[in-house]
């Protein structure tokens, strides 16, 4: 009985065997789990279950991975159509913002728009036939009035650059939290996990730049985060005083569900350790050094503000 020899042999006909076995080290974890409890003779049985799990998935992706990627795709559509409207690329909105968003600001928003479009295309290509349908621009209402059924949260989102950038920041900060919350659910597939992390950090770069834009560019002095209404830093300090429009954006920086796993951005306890005490820093500094994940339900509730 030579487990590794068997797998090496399988690898000759199926080079992706390690991927299917949700990675070599995971395999060792499987062994770790039963090694003590079962006799060595039982190893082949447990291995069979392992292979079945790896190969039994339809289309190669597990249900959980499909769900997380479609969740991500939903958010990417939200961002994509938001920027498309703001830039009036469709020519349909007759967006007044088109004139307000000029020069460097406009060029930077185009860069972000291009990334979001690439993310949509990338996720669709990974999901294939398992991808949700295009959500289409008409499914969104970025004023937050839910198609006129309630008072608008951001009535001038496409006519006031300040409002547009505030909503953009909230969407990007939400995206960062969403990917961070989703990553552990992708741990069984290295390729997908890495791609998700590669999107996650791009969303963080977008968020940083939008925050920098909102305070007047890189040479503008960041505001004092202890003062509500101050200009933003390029990172999240405490709960960011509820964000750019606290009545509508506090949830972006607040706790998720359950709060023990998805604390607010003001959290200073990491891995059970109080980083504020360890480094003898202020609560704001301790919270700035770590971003927090958010659960799917809370993210979808935030996104729901912008659907009809």
């Amino acid at each position: 009985m030579n487990i590794l020899k068997i797998i090496t042999e399988i690898e000759k006909v199926d080079p992706e065997v390690y991927e299917r076995l949700d990675q070599r080290r995971q395999m060792f974890k499987h062994f770790a789990g039963f090694g003590k409890k079962l006799a060595v003779a039982a190893v082949p049985l447990a291995m069979g279950a392992m292979f079945q799990k790896a190969y039994g998935q339809t289309g190669g992706l597990s249900r959980q991975i499909i769900d997380v990627l479609n969740f991500a795709l939903r958010l990417e559509y939200l961002e994509f159509y938001f920027y498309e409207n703001g830039l009036d690329f469709s020519g349909r909105t007759g967006s007044a913002l088109n004139s307000g968003l000029t020069g460097q600001n406009r060029a930077d928003i185009v860069k972000i728009y291009n990334d979001e479009r690439a993310h949509v295309n990338f996720l669709r290509s990974v999901l294939g036939s398992a991808a949700i349908p295009d959500l289409t621009r008409d499914s969104f209402d970025f004023t937050g009035s839910k198609g006129g059924t309630r008072a608008a949260l951001f009535p001038d989102v496409f006519s006031n650059v300040g409002t547009f950038l505030a909503v953009a920041q909230a969407l990007e900060d939400t995206g960062v939290r969403a990917y961070k919350g989703g990553a552990p659910l992708l741990i069984s597939n290295n390729t997908i996990l890495e791609a998700a992390l590669n999107i996650h950090s791009v969303e963080a770069r977008h968020a940083s730049h939008l925050r920098t834009m909102r305070r007047g560019g890189p040479q503008a002095e960041p505001g004092d985060p202890s003062n509500a209404g101050s200009t933003p830093q390029s990172w999240i300090s405490g709960n960011d005083n509820g964000g750019p429009a606290p009545a509508a954006t506090a949830a972006v920086y607040g706790a998720g569900n359950p709060a023990s796993l998805y604390p607010s951005e003001a959290n200073v306890i990491q891995g059970g350790l109080n980083v504020q005490n360890i480094s003898q820093v202020s609560p704001n500094e301790a919270s700035e050094a770590f971003d927090e994940p958010l659960d799917m339900g809370t993210v979808l509730a935030i996104a729901g503000n912008f659907t009809r």
Partner: protein, 263 residues
């Protein structure tokens, strides 16, 4: 976990004896760690003598041996170790480097003609990176493992009086940090550690974007770091990262990541 904790307790006892005998306690620590890790793994695998004999007797696979590759004891490099703790120590090495860099930037009273915004930002970055470094040290200990030693940086290639040199180095470190965490995420087994890495990497990405914008506004997602066709940031493997990081680390503090998981 109990086995691991007991095991590390044992190592600590062994090492405290060694430190009495040797003036090079830190080197001794590394030497003791390496052969024992192999045994630790086998005990952790829970299979005991029978299964470990089974696995190893038939081990024709080079990659398994690579995982346990022994350090060249004379090279004076710092091996970050294997498994999840190895990844944490790898991150700890990078955060130490960043923290040391920004600490020196602030100690040197910044470069000539640094603007107020630049001073505020660099001070914040110094705080954040020190927090990351302090935290990882504590987290590795809390996991019952042993953090790598305090690394000695070599910033001789940096002109701390020059804005271009300081911000250029900051950009290199921040982009490197993001690429490193992005490349290491898939090597982590424990989802809790993956989440912690995720909490740190997005802050590094926020730093990277701002430093880039300070150097040239609008370069926050430059094509050198984000593939424009996929919108995905480019990862770097531990080996690629170590090669760059080691150019900023002194002899005796260069890191060896060859025992980390490969895939």
């Amino acid at each position: 976990m109990e086995i691991i904790n007991n095991f590390h307790h044992l190592i600590q006892i062994v090492m405290s004896h060694i430190s009495h005998k040797s003036s090079e306690a830190e080197n001794a620590q590394e030497e003791v760690m390496v052969p024992l890790q192999r045994r630790a793994f086998l005990r952790y695998s829970g299979a005991g003598v029978a299964l470990s004999g089974l696995v190893l007797a038939g081990c024709t696979d080079d990659r398994l041996n690579d995982i346990f590759k022994q350090v060249d004891r004379n090279s004076g490099v710092v091996n970050v170790g294997s498994g999840d703790v190895g990844i944490l120590n790898y991150a700890y090495a990078l955060e130490q480097l960043e923290a040391a860099f920004y600490a020196k930037v602030t100690q040197e009273q910044f470069y000539l003609n640094a603007t107020r915004a630049e001073r505020i930002i660099l001070k914040d970055l110094a705080d954040h990176e020190k927090i990351h470094s302090d935290f990882l040290y504590a987290a590795i200990k809390a996991a019952g493992a042993i953090p790598i030693k305090k690394l000695t940086p070599d910033f001789s290639s940096v002109n701390f009086a020059s804005r271009a040199s300081v911000l250029g180095t900051a950009k290199a470190f921040e982009d490197l940090g993001v690429a490193a965490y992005n490349g290491a995420g898939k090597l982590i087994s424990n989802p809790a550690y993956l989440t912690i890495a995720g909490k740190i990497v997005s802050v590094e990405a926020r730093h990277a974007a701002l430093i880039r914008d300070l150097l040239q506004n609008g370069t926050f997602v430059g094509p050198d770091v984000v593939d424009p066709t996929t919108g995905l940031e480019k990862s770097k493997s531990p080996a690629e990262v170590a090669a760059i990081a080691n150019t900023f680390l002194a002899q005796g503090s260069k890191i060896d990541v060859s025992s980390l998981p490969r895939d």
